[in-house]
């Protein structure tokens, strides 16, 4: 049994996998560990491989799929990727397809990773930086998969020449208005700046969120399906959600008006005179 470690880095893994393919080492004879540590069965000799068949070229599409699935965080994530690579190079192209048993797991991971990138684009909350000359916005974010490096240029498209920092427990990106700097692990100073900003208040946004909600249409299940609870603590509006839910349950369901509007005095308008 060959034991490898790629430090959860795709290019490192790719180099290792290329070497193994050239050697003809089958997937059951190799294991990637998440950290370098001795393996129980490492001393065992792999079963000799007698498979024939010419090794074909790796389709470019597969590399992109593997790169994307590699961002899926789970113990032993690299083993499936090698098995699929092995099968495809031996002519079993269906290993890449959703109908195959390895392929369906591959596509499940790709889908989760792409959803998590979308979550980053949706749920990052930038706080304006007022006390520093080198930064305009800062955010603390806790993604479930390793999507930060691949998905954060999106914010350069949104924010033009503004300078921003997104820090996570694992890594960070700093955009200086022209270039993106990726760091893993996240420098402690960056982490401190980002964490100091999180949990901030914004009365205007909280007001908007509470007012645009229609309590007559309360649907907690739909909300949580799209925005699971793990995101709430990172959102400026997160702390309002339980409050709005309970107010709606307690009676404002009868009509859709926001609590903030109910207290104010109303005004009807005279019809315009015919001219």
């Amino acid at each position: 049994m060959r034991v490898l470690c790629c430090e959860d880095d795709f290019e490192t893994w790719r180099g290792q996998a290329r070497g193994l393919l050239a050697e003809g080492l089958p997937p059951h004879a190799v294991v990637w560990e998440d950290e370098n540590r001795p393996q129980l069965f490492a001393a065992e000799e792999p079963a000799p491989y007698h498979g024939g068949g010419a090794v074909t070229r790796v389709p470019g599409e597969l590399i992109e799929q593997l790169r994307s699935a590699a961002q899926y965080r789970m113990p032993g994530r690299w083993n499936l990727l090698y098995r699929i690579l092995w099968r495809v190079t031996r002519g079993e192209r269906e290993a890449m397809l959703a109908g195959d048993c390895d392929g369906s797991e591959l596509h499940r991971r790709i889908r989760s990773v792409s959803r998590e990138a979308h979550h980053l684009h949706a749920f990052v909350r930038f706080q304006p930086v007022t006390d520093a000359a080198d930064l305009d916005y800062v955010a603390w974010y806790e993604p479930a998969h390793d999507i930060l490096a691949g998905a954060s240029l999106h914010f350069a498209e949104r924010l033009g020449r503004q300078r921003w920092l997104i820090a996570t427990p694992r890594d960070a990106v700093w955009y200086d208005g022209a270039h993106l700097e990726y760091r893993r692990p996240c420098p402690p100073a960056w982490q401190a700046r980002a964490q100091a900003s999180s949990g901030g208040e914004d009365r205007l946004w909280e007001t908007y969120y509470a007012s645009i909600f229609n309590p007559a249409r309360l649907n907690r299940q739909a909300m949580q399906g799209h925005m699971p609870m793990r995101f709430w603590k990172g959102l400026t509006e997160g702390k309002l959600i339980p409050v709005l839910l309970s107010q709606a349950r307690a009676g404002s369901q009868k009509d859709g008006q926001a609590q903030g509007v109910k207290g104010k005095s109303g005004k009807t308008i005279r019809p315009a005179r015919e001219s």
Partner: protein
């Protein structure tokens, strides 16, 4: 009045418009440029409110003062609601601030009718124009169009907005006369026609300025009048055909404070709205016709989705052999969506489709089971009567909420 009070009132007043989509815009980026804002065609939901609705745009009214007296509308002139009015500068500042903090991907601006339709339209256009020209804002802008406004103003609005919308409001002309006395079907469809032909001209001539590249949408209120689902879907189908609308939104009538006697006190079940959206999706993406889903009158069933209802009414078309059938027919099988149909077609080029392949491909297997044939499977329920199949497949009724 403080900005925060205006926001409280004018967001509350805007919530009855269902649309919050930021999709359909061309790709724009501010990377390395002055100004801010990007669009990528897909749209982003930045948050969800506890009603399960997406928050994608800052959706507000410029003002909820209104000269009209539409009975279903909380802002009608006879309604006793607090009134407020934003200045264009306030809307611009809010949009830019919310955008930079990543709360929203743009602005959806609508307004009550003040002074005149032209005046109101000019105010809306001014906000969009300043955002685009002075702030170089490249985010999404959706402008509500006032149907009675001068067509020249509608054309101007389309140069700044990604999407325009004119609300059809009610599914039948008679209901419109009864409930929205100042509105005319002719001016609503006239405005839709103006938008459609301006967008045609802009597409035909590459040098012409872009016109509302995200197309137009509309909204129909469900349950404020007696129109049935057949009327609603046929109206939607006609609008899709005549004005190439991107979307028709269905908004279940939501009880409003100080509701007049001319509209119901009770909201229609939200499930009805949901079934209409499902049926609408079948019209837009699956090639169904309204006539296939419903006859000349009648409502969609609430206990089963419209695709299953169609399949149960057309058992002669089933079971479908997934190894042979046309892709369009596979997509008509209950429990199998368009994406899965495409996956089945690419997989069957390599091998015969077996039942276990369906399990892996995210089909709703219980719904699909009676209607498909694979190389190793034929449905036992094939000969089961549709009524019995329906009771097996219907969505379980949820227990009523104690305080609903």
């Amino acid at each position: 009045m403080e900005l925060i009070d205006k926001l409280t009132i004018l967001a509350d007043a805007a919530k009855y418009d269902a649309s919050c989509a930021s999709s359909g815009a061309p790709k724009r980026s501010s990377r390395g440029k002055d100004g801010i804002g990007a669009t990528n065609g897909m749209g982003i939901c930045h948050s969800y409110t506890p009603d399960g609705r997406c928050v994608s745009l800052l959706k507000i009214l410029l003002t909820n003062f209104c000269l009209y007296d539409c009975q279903y509308c909380v802002n009608r002139r006879s309604s006793d609601v607090p009134r407020a009015r934003f200045s264009p500068e306030e809307v611009i500042k809010l949009t830019l601030d919310f955008y930079q903090r990543n709360y929203v991907s743009g602005l959806f601006l609508s307004s009550g009718i003040i002074q005149s339709p032209d005046y109101t339209m000019e105010q809306l256009i001014r906000v969009a124009k300043v955002l685009r020209e002075e702030h170089q804002f490249r985010g999404y802008i959706h402008l509500k169009t006032i149907p009675e406004a001068d067509p020249a103003l509608i054309e101007e609005a389309g140069r700044y907005a990604d999407r325009l919308s004119v609300n059809i409001e009610l599914p039948s002309p008679a209901s419109l006369i009864q409930l929205a006395p100042e509105k005319r079907l002719a001016s609503i469809t006239g405005a839709m026609g103006t938008i459609d032909s301006a967008s045609n001209e802009s597409r035909a001539d590459k040098r012409a300025p872009r016109f509302a590249p995200g197309g137009q949408s509309t909204q129909m209120i469900v349950g404020a009048d007696a129109s049935d689902d057949s009327r609603i879907l046929h109206t939607a189908e006609a609008l899709y055909g005549d004005y190439r609308l991107r979307r028709v939104y269905y908004s279940a009538f939501s009880p409003i404070p100080n509701s007049p006697a001319s509209v119901p006190f009770q909201a229609p079940p939200l499930l009805r709205e949901h079934r209409l959206y499902q049926a609408d999706f079948l019209l837009r993406s699956y090639g169904f016709k309204a006539n296939e889903l419903l006859g000349a009158t009648g409502n969609l069933p609430l206990d089963i989705d419209p695709k299953l209802a169609w399949a149960l009414g057309n058992r002669a078309e089933f079971p479908v052999d997934l190894n042979r059938a046309e892709p369009a027919m596979i997509a008509r099988v209950p429990g199998i969506g368009i994406r899965t149909a495409q996956r089945i077609v690419s997989l069957r080029r390599l091998k015969r489709i077996r039942f276990e392949d369906l399990l892996r491909m995210r089909c709703v297997i219980d719904k699909a089971r009676p209607f498909v044939v694979t190389s190793d499977y034929r449905p036992r329920q094939d000969t089961l009567e549709s009524t019995r199949l329906r009771s097996q497949l219907s969505d379980q009724p949820a227990q009523m909420a104690l305080w609903a």
